[in-house]
Amino acid sequence: MASIEFKQICKSYGNISVIKGIDLEIKDGELVVFVGPSGCGKSTLLRLLAGLEEEDSGSMYIGETLVNSIAPKDRNIAMIFQNYALYPHMTVAENIGFGLKLRGMNKKKRARAVDETASLLGLKHLLTKQPRQLSGGQRQRVAMGRAIIRNPEVFLMDEPLSNLDAKLRNQMRIEIRKLQRRLKTTTIFVTHDQIEAMTLADRIVVLNDGKVQQVGAPSKLYSSPVNKFVAGFLGSPSINFIHARRTGDNELTLPDGQCVLLPMDQAQILSDLREVEIGIRPEQINIVKKSDQTAMEKNTITWSSSVSLIESLGSEKLVYSFHGEHEVAIKTTNSNGALEGSNIQLSFSMNNAHLFALNDGRCLSPVAGNA
């Protein structure tokens, strides 16, 4: 078990730079999820740590050891691949025990270790089977078995659940979480699925364009994204953005002409920006009855629009509507009788909104309500 540290790691393929100077520390025993859209460099970063790719510059530490020039097999890590990379010509037992065999463990000891691992994962009855005879979930488990049997310092998981169907994926996610808690092995989990990231991670690392966007606990990243990208990437449905022009020191004007006054401390952060975007989570928009208008607070934005689509999630509903020309999504338990095609009254409080600079997307303020 060990901590991990990336220092100024860079990697490019030809002219294309995929990792642009990453600094990151992972604590011993932590489960960290790398998340980001495809091409963001998350897998590359993982493979750099595994030693499957060679970094251009920077250094990586596992524990106290600088691992840059250490061969993959000597880094004491185990990796689970997207398609598991199980050997089709070996039985389950041989697959699980492969690493031990390569490391010269004798047959008897190996068999015992394989047995233990298999019972831990509920694979005991499958030991003599070949991978092609197994279901997707069982294969996944064999891959995990092969990883944990060596008791490595670090687990690396490269989108290990993406080949499973939705139900099995949830189940395996929980299993991985439980297993990691029990083994307390430092784990890096790569995914492009933000739900997986939110539910699994001790800390999430959001990557985009070869850079770390933000690192933190899932709830922290959700409530306090540092930029428009993080805000947009986490949460489903995505956060809604509404464009706004600054028309006074602390006055913002929305495309529909509505003005809203910010508290003076927020206005200060705006400094000399002329244009911003207001980010508001779907669950922070309310559908209000027309009669409730009078009850509105001062920094509340209210507008009416038509409903284009309603999706029911059971206890909650997703309502799709518009602000001006932009579609907005609303997640609510109380749709106040909204129907597809009908006109509804929408409102949100600026206390729940995030302000982002239009030019570089950075978040301008912690939201007043959460601050």
Partner: protein, 324 residues
């Protein structure tokens, strides 16, 4: 011809699969296969190819087998039934025994080296780059040259004293060698030509096979602690087994069905040292006027080739299991 037989066998297996599928879908498994619509359809698809196979492959095979029990002495009027006398004559013929021995040495000495070399080439040339593609084409080139032309070319390479080989060996201070004229060396000279000609061909199969092995198998092996040799031993070789089996059979069949270079380079000499079974058959049929002996030797080689073919299909079918 043997390859055709393989195809037919595979086709018949397919008929069975097709018919099984059709029955499964129609849930009429209890119906006799003969009346089964799927079966009839499948056989109809197969009919044209089967007809030609029977006409041009199986009928001649049966005919040859039949003929091997008769003897029409050269110049005689009548064909006589002699039972197994042709077989007795064949095994009493020192030339035939020599040809079989030569063919065995030739088989072992060409199949294994050309496969190993082809595999080696493939291993070092799997990743493509412009340079490697170029080398690959160069190595594949001998395959494109007809064996007759290759043999004609190698006559000059082997030319004692002034041939390419002796020319360069002389620079190393090695005396001129009579590559095709020395009965102790001639067969090995032909073997080198064969290896030169075939290794590139087998390389191509191995490259295709290697490219079919996912990179992650190697990456997983690296992380599990495998070195170069262990990756070769535990990942590459087992996963390449179906390809290897296929190449092995192709190579074996090659050994028994190609003698152009013998005809061009040595005529089986000196002293019968380069005579191979197929050339022996050719000689007896066309030059020695002993058709019965040629026929009998043909029956035996067809049997050997059939055995190889069926063995090959077995291994290839076993290989299919790896793909899942």
């Amino acid at each position: 011809m043997m390859v055709d037989a393989c195809h037919l066998w595979l086709a018949m297996r397919k008929v069975k699969y097709m018919a099984d599928n059709v029955t499964a879908r129609g849930k009429k498994r209890l119906l006799k296969p003969f009346y089964n619509a799927g079966y009839i359809k499948a056989w109809l698809y197969l009919a044209p190819a089967l007809l030609f196979l029977i006409l041009f492959t199986y009928y001649p095979m049966v005919q040859v087998l039949w003929d091997s029990f008769f003897l029409k002495e050269y110049g005689a009027e009548k064909k006589l039934f002699v039972a197994f006398d042709n077989y007795r004559r064949l095994f009493a013929d020192e030339d035939f025994i020599t040809a079989v021995k030569n063919n065995l040495i030739y088989a072992i000495g060409t199949v294994i080296p050309s496969i190993v070399i082809g595999f080696g080439f493939a291993l070092s040339l799997t990743q493509s780059s412009r340079f490697k593609n170029c080398i690959r084409s160069l190595l594949f080139f001998p395959t494109l040259v007809p064996l007759v032309a290759a043999a004609a070319l190698w006559i000059f390479i082997y030319f004692p004293g002034i041939g390419l080989l002796d020319y360069y060996l002389a620079k190393l201070g090695i005396q001129s060698t009579d590559w095709l004229g020395d009965p102790d060396i001639a067969l090995y000279s032909l073997m080198i030509l064969t290896i030169w000609k075939n290794a590139g061909f087998y390389m191509l199969f191995f490259i295709a096979g290697l490219q079919g092995i996912g990179e992650e198998y190697y990456e997983a092996a690296s992380l599990e602690g495998a070195g170069w040799w262990q990756k070769l031993r535990y990942v590459t070789l087992p996963l390449l087994a179906p390809t290897s089996a296929f190449v092995f059979v192709i190579a074996l069949i090659h050994v028994f069905t190609h003698v152009d270079h013998v005809i061009v380079m040595t005529l089986g000499g000196p002293m019968g040292s380069t005579n191979l079974v197929l050339y022996y058959i050719y000689q007896n049929a066309h030059e020695f006027n002993d058709l019965a002996k040629a026929t009998t030797a043909t029956v035996l080689s067809v049997m050997v080739l059939l055995a190889i073919s069926f063995f090959s299909i077995r291994t290839m079918e076993r290989g299919i299991h790896y793909e899942s």
